[in-house]
């Protein structure tokens, strides 16, 4: 196969497909990590708003 005159096109096609699939996987995985971090932060903010405020008001 390496002696094929169009080997460059074949390699380029597989490289482009691998890069695109890699980007799709990376997008989903990185988005998931970032969203989990954001959810933790938002939950902490909610807990602080509830617990912290109640604590300050002497409602605990």
């Amino acid at each position: 196969m390496t002696g094929d005159p169009h080997i460059g096109f074949i390699i380029a096609a597989y490289a482009a497909a691998a890069a695109t699939i890699g980007a799709m996987i990376g997008w989903v995985v990185l988005d998931f990590r970032e969203l989990n971090a954001q959810l933790d932060q938002a939950t902490r903010a909610l807990d602080a708003a509830r617990g912290g405020a109640k604590g300050k008001l002497g409602l605990d």
């Binding site: 096109f9 405020a53 300050k56």
Partner: protein, 251 residues
């Protein structure tokens, strides 16, 4: 029956199904690539036929993903299913990715086989329109702040854009195109030799499993995004609710 309309149930289901789907996808890609590279060269195309093992599954997925999005759009518009717009939004970047692979690999196959990277042929142009539709839908979701309005607008555009699917499928029959007619899904059966057809089928299954895996993950991300918005709003509302009490007690 499992209530998939409940986002919490759906997230729990994805947590259990995803490892199996990811394993199946990896196994199918390993088998598909091994079969592709072990397959004999085509008598006319030579080794360049190996590009077809990427191009054809990507082309099928490009249209399949849009069909999934159309069904989800109907779910949003007609049945107001709570996960339909999440499924639709999650599928768009994946559909764009598969269409991009289809266009790039087709172009890289076209140069050595047709002597050109691109022609304004009906099949190629209608697939390019599909790619632009995907990008337009992604842009539409980003342009509208209100998620409900964005979902409705995107659902309408998706349903209207679905007219491109039969055009893509039948373009090679309706017009004189440089692109060859269907050679797998034919009434009289495939015209491809089994030695070339089997790797193509395995690679198509691998692409389908890849889409299912990434789609489930992306829907789960959309559910998380909504959860974050809800928790952030609750935190803000809680702050507003307790603010007068703070003021009254001088806290």
């Amino acid at each position: 029956m499992v209530n998939l309309a409940n986002p919490t149930t759906f997230v729990e289901l994805t947590r259990r199904v995803l490892p199996w789907l990811a394993a199946a996808t990896s196994a199918l890609f390993v088998a598909g690539l091994w079969l592709s590279f072990a397959a004999p060269p085509d008598y006319q195309q030579g080794e360049t036929v190996k590009i077809m093992y990427l191009h054809v599954p990507a082309a099928w997925m490009a249209t399949f993903v849009y069909a999934v999005m159309t069904a989800a759009a109907l779910g949003t518009l007609v049945w107001r299913h709570p996960l339909a717009d999440a499924a639709q939004k999650a599928a768009a970047p994946l559909g764009a990715g598969f269409t991009f692979i289809c266009l790039v690999t087709g172009s890289l196959w076209g140069k050595p086989m047709w002597g050109t990277y691109w022609v304004w042929d009906a099949r190629l142009t209608s697939v390019l329109v599909l790619f632009i539709l995907y990008l337009g839908l992604i842009a539409l979701w980003r342009a509208i702040d209100d998620p409900g309005r964005a979902a409705k607008a995107a659902a309408i555009l998706t349903v209207v854009g679905a007219v491109d699917l039969p055009i893509i499928k039948f373009s090679v029959d309706w017009w004189n195109t440089l692109h060859q007619p269907a050679s797998v899904f034919r009434l009289d059966g495939p015209t491809i030799a089994p030695a070339l057809l089997i790797p193509l089928i395995v690679m198509s299954l691998a692409f389908t499993c890849l889409f299912l895996t990434l789609h489930l993950m992306a829907i789960r991300n959309e559910i998380l995004r909504r959860r974050i918005a809800r928790v952030t709003m609750l935190a803000a509302a809680e702050g507003d609710r307790l603010a007068p009490e703070f003021a009254a007690r001088g806290a």
